[in-house]
């Protein structure tokens, strides 16, 4: 005799066989103390050899970045390949690439917090750190793209004897404010969230220096009721503050292009398209980092298949939105009456010098992530890892397709040009990966990679009606009455 669910014509999900139980967010009934010691252990125990195998090359690559920057400043921006008509080359491509990666962190930390998505707790810390390091990598590019790095203070509205004042009508200036606000809020948010865990590390620290260091940054946290109330209110307010930033930052970045008149840039679809792309690329980078981290540090019980499954679904959703945007751009170019627009897209996908970038972009961002429709593939970590790396590459291709392709073919053939990056730009891009990895590895070494306090909050034990607590209370009541 079949049960009711199969009789109704569908098969329930294995985890739902018992009523409406959800998949657990922490596997194997881990206790509170297990979580503390497992996460703090990453910081307290010696790092695996692999950490050094990654850290040393990362530092070397970071040195390459510093070298290219020194070379750039001492020689002049001419060492980059960009020139008229393609004034925005890899520097801006890489800026948008990195800033986009940062978006997953804010989405997880703010929007998923406000919408009470409990699964965020074990991935938010690392992805916020990733956000901060990605924005740091991003910021390098526009800062040096201004040409004279030491004049970068011109971007700030400081009354000065040169009577230089910012052009508040320019989206490039909005960009400065959007990105710097984003960075500031992200750092504060990340730090506030770290305070309870820093106190945990302080209390467990064995030697004087780490006790002092963690103690200094823990700001005297004692885990008192009052502390927690203030902390939670501060966290909530910051979440509310940074939620608009998830949408605004990349919208403003897209205005850099959308408010211009260049065919291929001048489209109203850009803000949502950029935001979706940023979340898409950001989650891909989160997974790229989380899959090895959970494996190496034995965090499979905290970052479960459920987490990975959720993130792959977000990638599938946002990737499909991005695919819709690509196709809508093409459709409008075909359907609209603007012949320059039509020509720009004809050049972009069929006749131009960069058409293979477009094909790479389309394959990596739209076609390959469709594999995630299959639950089986979503649960195969190798497949997930390979697909998200295609997405990482695809998002870089997307920015390249948008930026140099459009300006290389302007209105008049007399303004046409071809852009290719020089070794300086290439080494600098690799170097920012080194910088990103270096900071990330230092983060793993010195700070708790998972928000210990928050993960504990979603354990069944933290529910006041947890059966064991009920049993204890019952026992106590019986003892009282006896």
């Amino acid at each position: 005799m079949a049960d009711a669910s199969t009789a109704a014509g569908y098969k329930v999900h294995p985890s739902e066989e018992e009523g409406v139980a959800r998949e657990k967010l922490v596997e194997n009934n881990r206790s509170l103390s297990w979580i503390t010691s497992r996460v703090c252990g990453i910081v307290e125990n010696p790092q695996p050899k692999l950490w050094w195998c990654l850290f040393i090359p990362a530092v070397l690559l970071f040195c390459c970045e510093v070298f290219t920057l020194v070379y750039l400043v001492s020689t002049g921006v001419g060492v980059w390949g960009n020139n008229q008509p393609v004034a925005w080359g890899w520097a801006i491509v890489n800026f948008v690439f990195w800033i986009g990666i940062g978006h997953a962190g804010t989405l997880i930390s703010a929007i998923l917090f406000l919408t009470r998505q409990k699964w965020r707790t074990s991935v938010n810390r690392a992805s916020e750190a990733m956000t901060i390091f990605a924005v740091m990598s991003a910021g390098i590019y526009p800062a040096f793209h201004v040409g004279r790095f030491w004049m970068v203070w011109f971007l700030a509205p400081i009354p000065n004897s040169n009577a230089i004042w910012q052009n508040f009508k320019s989206p490039l200036l909005w960009d400065v404010f959007a990105v710097s606000t984003y960075f500031t809020i992200s750092v504060i948010f990340w730090y506030i969230g770290l305070i309870p865990d820093l106190a945990t590390l302080r209390d467990r620290a064995k030697n004087k220096i780490s006790k002092l260091a963690y103690g200094f940054f823990a700001l005297g946290w004692r885990g008192a009721n009052r502390h927690w109330r203030h902390y939670e209110m501060a966290y909530l307010l910051l979440a509310a503050l940074s939620t608009p930033l998830v949408l605004s930052v990349h919208s403003v970045v897209s205005f850099d292009f959308a408010t211009s008149v260049i065919p291929g840039w001048h489209t109203t679809i850009f803000p949502p398209y950029f935001v979706a792309g940023a979340v898409f690329g950001g989650f891909a980078m989160v997974l790229t980092l989380m899959l090895p981290i959970r494996k190496i540090y034995g965090l499979e019980d905290l970052i479960t298949m459920k987490h990975i499954d959720n993130m792959t679904k977000i990638i599938l959703l946002t990737g499909t939105i991005v695919g819709y945007a690509y196709i809508m751009e093409l459709f409008i170019a075909y359907y609209g009456a603007n012949k320059y627009e039509a020509d720009a897209f004809h050049i972009r996908i069929l006749s131009g010098p960069y058409k293979y970038y477009y094909y790479c972009m389309f394959a990596c961002n739209v076609l390959i992530p469709q594999l995630f429709w299959s639950r089986k593939l979503r649960h195969n970590l190798w497949v997930v890892f390979i697909v998200v790396n295609f997405v990482n590459a695809g998002m870089w291709f997307e920015r390249f397709v948008i930026i140099p392709t459009s300006v290389a073919r302007d209105f008049l053939p007399g303004q046409w040009g071809y852009y290719s990056a020089t070794w300086v730009e290439k080494l600098m891009f690799i170097g920012t990966f080194g910088q990103f990895m270096m900071f990330l590895l230092l983060f793993l070494r010195f700070l708790p990679v998972i928000a210990i306090g928050e993960v504990k909050g979603i354990l069944p034990q933290s529910d006041p009606h947890y059966p064991e607590w009920e049993a204890m209370r019952k026992k106590r009541r019986q003892g009282d009455s006896a």
């Binding site: 004897s161 040169n162 009577a163 209390d203 006790k211 103690g215 005297g220």
Partner: protein
């Protein structure tokens, strides 16, 4: 577990923050005050190889600026006079030709002088436009901007010094409101000139020729207005169609 930090550290963070804030404010204020041309350039008064006294020549003797700085109306650059020009007056048997102060001039000019070298006099430049800023003297002096606007009362300076800041903000102040600084062309080198010195009858006559409106009408339109620099400047600005550029590329070409 004992306390890691002693009690005195409770407020140390706040104190440090206050001190850092005060220090930051002080540094900003100091930089703001001392890193601007108002501070770094105004008052620069180098010693010149020959102690040429502008207050004597341009002031007491009333020599026109253009006698020595002769290219100023025709060239972007306002020249320094050559030694030959000084020699016109200070040559053998002329004014103060034996003065010990003119030793360098005699070395430069007097072939009969035992110390004759023929070397030009190495005047020290005081007002310097940076290489990245294009400035044209003739464009300014031919449209009613007097020497005094940028160089101050040179006719009262025994030793010339940097009188105005000449910062970019200084340029823009005038480019944004030229009427505050324009004057009739024949008064360009009259450093003591003021708007009240103008012969108004003559001014309106000339203005009517430029504007194509009768002098009477122009005068009536101004009848209930005070005669100020702004009013005069406004007429000149309109008459000459002065429209000072304010784009970056007007000076940074």
């Amino acid at each position: 577990m004992g306390n890691i930090f002693p009690t005195w550290t409770n407020w140390i963070a706040v104190k440090v923050l206050i001190c850092l804030g005060a220090l930051g404010t002080a540094v900003v204020a100091l930089a703001w005050y001392s890193w601007t041309p108002k501070y770094t350039r105004v008052g620069y008064m180098p010693q010149q190889p020959i102690p040429f006294d502008h207050s004597l020549h341009a002031g007491q003797l009333g020599m026109d600026c253009r006698y020595c700085h002769s290219f100023v109306e025709n060239s972007s650059h306002s020249n320094l006079p050559t030694a030959e020009l000084c020699w016109n007056c200070h040559g053998p048997g002329k004014v103060k030709s034996d003065s010990p102060k003119l030793e360098l001039l005699r070395q430069a000019m007097d072939v009969n002088d035992e110390n004759y070298t023929g070397e030009p006099i190495k005047w020290v430049q005081i007002h310097e436009t940076p290489d990245y800023a294009y400035f044209n003297h003739s464009a300014h002096v031919n449209r009613g901007v007097s020497c005094v606007e940028c160089h101050g009362r040179v006719d009262q300076m025994p030793v010339v010094y940097h009188a105005k800041s000449l910062s970019m903000g200084f340029c823009l102040d005038c480019h944004r409101a030229p009427e505050k600084h324009l004057r009739p062309l024949d008064q360009i080198t009259n450093l003591a000139w003021e708007a009240d010195d103008v012969d108004r009858e003559k001014f309106y006559e000339e203005l009517s020729a430029v504007k194509g409106v009768s002098a009477q009408k122009l005068k009536e339109a101004d009848s209930n207005k005070d005669w100020t620099q702004e009013l005069l400047g406004k007429h000149l600005k309109e008459g000459w169609a002065v429209n000072p550029p304010q784009q970056c590329a007007s000076c940074h070409r």
